[in-house]
Amino acid sequence: MSSVRRAGEVAQREFLTVLRTPTLLALAAGYVFLLTAVAWLSVAGTYIALVLDLLTPVEVLVPILAFAFGYRAILGDRESGELETVRTYPVSRVSYVGGVYLGRAVAVLAAVLAGLVAAALFVPFSSGRDLSFTATHATVDSPVLYLRFVFLTAAFALVVLALAILVSAAARSSRGGLALGVGAVVALLVGFDSAILTTLAGGFVSGDSLTALLALSPNSAFRSLVFVTTLAPTGASVPEGPAALVATVGLAGWAVVAITAATFVVWNA
């Protein structure tokens, strides 16, 4: 049996676990509802406006969602003793961690994308302007910009999920897992950016190196990617710079490092 096949079986098992956990389904539903509510309340009318309205809610909600879906994945197996059973099968650490990640990722992405698609449905129906005698044009608004945002949000969710899987692999108890998980979410939402703020306020970094520094914070990297790829084409003044590349490298780096680390700490080879 190839290692890919084994990973697929692990993924299937993880996916079913999520589907059988009502708490997670309720959480996903709540997330979809919140995004829809934001879209409805903001009455954006345009895709680019919706992107801006959703940016902060997404930045907060996606890490919470991803950690909720991920932090017990391996920890649950470990506590129930199933991890020991799994080790008796000819499954490599890479296949196991990869499979867990894939299975959970499909579930997380399904929720994340469902929320964004639902929010977008409000745009065509909420344009409150009708001046039939007046010529209109497309402005810079475009569904294309929203598609970019959807893709970036999905990527962001994958990165955060990788961190959640690392927490899950590293934790040795429920309490420890919860503490690590909450700590990681707080770090993502506040910690990294606060640290960057401290260095900035202390005069340790200049404006130029801030771009690179931001890539170290997954949330900020995601945010700058959104600005560069969706807001900048609209003519809003976003400073020039290698933000997109640096942020992409940063995000990818976090995902790769987290999954690799999870593979090493899940059990001793």
Binding site: G8, A11, Q12, E14, F15, L16, L19, V38, L41, S42, V43, A44, G45, T46, I48, A49, L52, D53, L55, T56, P57, L102, G103, V106, A107, L109, A110, L113, V117, G128, R129, D130, L131, F133, T134, A135, T136, H137, A138, T139, V140, D141, S142, V144, L145, Y146, L147, R148, F149, V150, F151, A154, T229, L231, P233, T234, G235, A236
Partner: protein
């Protein structure tokens, strides 16, 4: 459910979203011009454009497609275009211009008339060209009714040919932008300077007209002559005809400069319901201290097909019956005259410097049954200290540039003061009650001042249009809509707007008005915005308006609240009046949404933001007095 199936589904959605990076959002390259009458247009006055259209003069136009504004903005004249592109906050509110199209005169074979107006021998050839591809002829002596014109050509050769024939210089778009930028002095500064001069001009006109009261008596009706008509016939120019108490049947035309002096309300000129009672066809005629009744009830004249752009208006509106008709009666005076009329009180045509003062016009009970108190056409005149009750409009102006209407009271009518095609008017210190609209300016004029007026109990207090105008120091109470702003580049300051359904309605297209230092208090809704505007920012130099209690604190004691106020926002609207709303305004959820709604305003619905609401009223004494009146 199998993970592979879900995975494929998720993968497909991801692939679709990834196409967002393959496609580039449209730039301006694919845009093409739209019919000009489908744009939201600005620049030049309504009069200038009407005149140009009816005379067949070319007015160069432009269309701009802004990146964040879905409506195409049209400009009359290159000056308006350049000034708008350079205006502070313009790009912030509309985004950058994705495409600018200007009139293409190539192929139209344009030439100049003697006055310098541009006509085209082949006007159907007129098209559009992108501004960056056009060649412009500047300083050629070409003009529009609004002033000197810059002419765009799609083909540089045509531009050069025109410049060779008519003078001027051929330049590129970037040169035009730098040349025309800042060309016009700040219209509001000019207006403020002009206002004092205009009051002085009105004082001088009144003083000049009042000298007509000092003419020696030559004829007394009833003693020296049997009728008023024979008295006027016998009176030498520059003398006074005295009309003792009594009722006189009159339908008289006065063709020499005399003063007709009654002895007050007891001297009654009666027209027997037949046409206009007194027609004045001479300068420097005075009609004083009498009463006019029995005016005919023809309110409008017959229309006819004629040349000038406003013949229809002149013939229909200017031919109605009146108590006194002034025609070419420059410097005439109507003083202490009471007029009961089913049609007009005083009609003034081509009577610049005429004065109507201390008089009363009583019109019909229903506005639809009456007409104008004073109807001023082509007459820069003065209407002051008079009272207008009933009828349609108190003072109606048509192309009466420079008219001064001050210190009057108007009540129980449709409009108090109604300005049509009239620029540079000064309407000051009038009181209007019980009207559909207190003061209304229509037809896109420029340079009008509405100062220190009081409007109460109306559907709309003050309704403006045009550009470079201002409304300062007015008090508006008990209306459905206090001030309806339809202008651009205009100033609204030191107004007191209390107890109205809507305090200020921002119905304007381009957010170029300055709305500061007003006291807007205790209205059901402080502000409403039209559906086609964008974000209006109502503050200058860090101070805005006074809205009563608004959420936030003045922590640095600079007299303004540290939180911006959005008078049309669902939360802020109630926050001034309810403790719950005040607390809710501090909610992080509300704050976060607000924060993001500040971005790309052009793609949002219209809104008003006061970034620095005042903690104290601008005119506390006025506000206190008005509120006391409202309570009692």
């Amino acid at each position: 459910m199998h993970v592979t199936h879900a995975g494929i589904l998720v993968g497909v959605v991801l692939l679709v979203s990834a196409t967002g990076f393959a496609a580039t959002p449209s730039g301006g390259e694919s845009l093409s011009p739209v019919p000009f009458d489908e744009t939201l247009s600005t620049g030049m006055t309504g009069v200038d454009i009407q005149q140009a259209d009816s005379a067949g003069y070319v007015v160069p136009r432009a269309e701009v497609f802004y990146s964040q504004y879905e409506y195409v903005v049209g400009y009359y004249g290159m000056d308006a275009l350049v000034n708008s592109l350079d205006a502070a906050g313009g790009t912030e509110q509309f985004g950058r211009p994705m495409a600018i199209f200007v009139t293409d005169l190539s192929g139209t074979e344009p030439y100049l008339t003697e006055e310098g107006y541009v006509r085209a021998r082949n006007s159907v050839a007129q098209g559009w060209v992108r501004a960056e591809d056009a060649a412009f002829v500047v300083d050629s002596g070409a003009r529009t009714p609004g002033g000197p014109a810059t002419l765009p050509f799609g083909d540089r050769v045509d531009a050069e040919r025109f410049a060779d024939a008519h003078g001027g210089e051929v330049v590129t778009w970037s040169t035009v932008r730098t040349r025309l930028a800042g060309g016009e002095t700040d219209p509001l500064t000019r207006l403020a300077e002009r206002r004092a001069d205009q009051q002085q001009w009105a004082n001088d006109s009144v003083a000049g007209a009042r000298e007509l009261l000092d003419r020696p008596t030559s004829v007394v009706v009833g003693e020296d002559a049997p009728t008023l008509a024979t008295a006027v016939e016998r009176a030498p120019p520059n003398s006074t005809v005295v009309v003792p108490p009594g009722t006189y049947d009159v339908n008289l035309t006065i063709r020499k400069p005399v003063t007709i002096a009654g002895s007050g309300e007891n001297t009654v000129l009666h027209g027997e319901g037949n046409g206009t009672v007194l027609t004045v066809r001479s300068p420097d005629v005075a009609v004083v201290s009498l009463r006019i009744e029995g005016i005919g009830d023809t309110r409008v004249g017959q229309s006819a097909e004629t040349e000038a752009w406003d013949d229809r208006i002149r013939l229909i509106y200017g031919r109605g019956d009146a108590g006194i008709r002034l025609a070419d009666a420059h410097g005439a005076l109507v003083q202490n005259v009471t007029i009961e009329t089913p049609a007009n009180g005083v009609v003034a045509l081509n009577s610049t410097g005429a004065v109507v003062r201390d008089s009363t016009v009583r019109g019909s009970d229903r506005p639809a049954d009456g007409f104008m108190g004073v109807l001023a056409m082509y007459s820069a005149m003065v209407v002051e200290d008079s009272e207008f009750v009933g009828g349609r409009d108190g003072v109606y102006t048509h192309y009466a540039n420079g008219i001064v209407v001050r210190d009057n009271t108007m009540s129980s009518l449709r409009y108090g003061v109604h300005e049509m095609y009239t620029s540079d008017a000064l309407v000051g210190n009038n009181t209007v009650t019980d009207a559909s609209v207190g003061l209304i300016v229509m037809t896109r004029p420029a340079g009008n001042a509405l100062v220190d007026n009081r409007v109460t109990d109306a559907e709309i207090g003050i309704s403006t249009a045009g550009s470079a105008s201002y409304a300062v120091g007015n008090v508006v109470t008990d209306t459905a809509v206090g001030i309806s702003i339809g202008t651009d580049r205009s100033l609204y300051a030191r107004n007191t707007v209390v107890d109205n359904g809507v305090g200020i309605r921002a119905a304007t297209l381009l957010p170029t008005n300055t709305v500061v230092a007003n006291d807007i208090v205790a209205n059901d809704r402080p502000v409403s915005v039209g559906n086609r505007g964008t974000r209006n920012i109502w503050a200058t130099d860090g101070t805005g308006n006074y809205w009563g209690a608004v959420p936030g604190l003045d922590r640095d004691g600079d007299g303004t609240v540290d939180r911006s106020y959005r008078p049309d926002d669902a939360v802020d609207r109630v926050a001034g009046r309810s403790a719950g709303g005040y607390a809710f305004a501090r909610s992080p959820a509300v704050g976060t949404l607000r924060q993001f709604q500040q971005a790309i305003p052009g793609l949002r619905g219209a809104s008003v933001v006061d970034p620095a609401p005042r903690t104290e009223p601008v005119r506390p004494a006025v506000l206190e007095r008005v509120r006391k009146e409202e309570d009692s």
